[in-house]
């Protein structure tokens, strides 16, 4: 009876080993496929959805850990979720990239008109400040303080405008537009303080 039990136990162990060994290949393949799939979307994902990318990396790291420990069953159990996560990551990164591309295109279009118009604002303010600086008695609607503020504000917007044009030259139209808007807002404020109308 004992011999029979030992034989049955041995047979079961052997079957288990065979079963485990048969899962090793698919588990290794699953991890390798996941790494390949993640690598294919890595650049875009790291740029546009870094947190989501890190989460998928962690999932794969966990699967690799299970693989190293010989827990092939765990690897195969996790594989579908990892595959789905990579798919979601790819879609999310592509969507973000499309949004960024659209925003860049919009900013580029806006820059073409702003880059022509804004220097005219600055020029008009510059000329007005120069003439008012020659005046012995400023008009009633313009104080000495507002003229002094206009002069310093003019220096400020010139510097910011230089930054904006540099950003545009480097292809960062979104950044250029943000700076240009700051220039235009400040310029409008100065023009109002100098009685230059709307």
């Amino acid at each position: 009876m004992k011999k029979q039990f030992a034989w049955v136990l041995g047979a079961m162990m052997a079957m288990l080993l065979v079963a485990c060994a048969s899962q090793k290949g698919p588990a290794e393949q699953a991890v390798a496929s996941a790494e390949t799939a993640l690598s294919a979307v890595a650049d875009q994902a790291q740029k546009y959805v870094p947190d989501q990318y890190a989460a998928v990396q962690a999932q794969i790291a966990s699967a690799k850990d299970s693989l190293a420990k010989g827990d092939y069953k765990a690897v195969l159990a996790a594989a579908p979720a990892i595959t789905a996560a990579i798919g979601s990551l790819k879609d999310a990164a592509a969507a973000k990239a499309a949004d960024a591309e659209a925003a860049l295109s919009k900013a580029k279009d806006a820059w073409s008109s702003v880059s022509t118009d804004t220097p005219k604002m600055v020029e008009a303010i510059q000329t007005k400040v120069e003439v008012l600086s020659k005046s012995h008695h400023l008009p009633a609607n313009i104080s000495k303080d507002s003229l002094a503020a206009a002069k310093s504000g003019l220096d400020s917007i010139k510097a910011t405008w230089a930054d904006a044009t540099a950003a545009a030259t480097s292809g960062d139209y979104t950044g250029a537009m943000a700076k240009a808007q700051a220039v235009r807002d400040k310029a409008a404020e100065i023009m109002k303080s100098l009685g230059m109308g709307s």
């Binding site: 005219k120 008009a124 007005k128 003439v131 008695h137």
Partner: protein
């Protein structure tokens, strides 16, 4: 005297529409607080003004 929103070559340069009784000195007084700066306006409008003493109602003058 009447002023209007900026127009002209530079849309942000003020424009003054001349009314009866205006002189360049009066316009300079209004915009600069100093009538002696009339020549600034004259020089900016040499395309339409030949004589600083001759301006006419309805003329649109750039106020630099």
């Amino acid at each position: 005297m009447a002023d209007t929103p900026p127009t002209g070559d530079n849309p942000y340069t003020q424009v003054h529409v001349v009314v009866a009784g205006d002189t360049l000195s009066k316009i300079a007084q209004k915009y600069y607080g100093d009538p002696s700066l009339y020549n600034q306006i004259f020089q900016a409008n040499r395309d339409v003004l030949k004589d600083p003493n001759k301006i006419f109602p309805g003329q649109k003058l750039k106020i630099p």
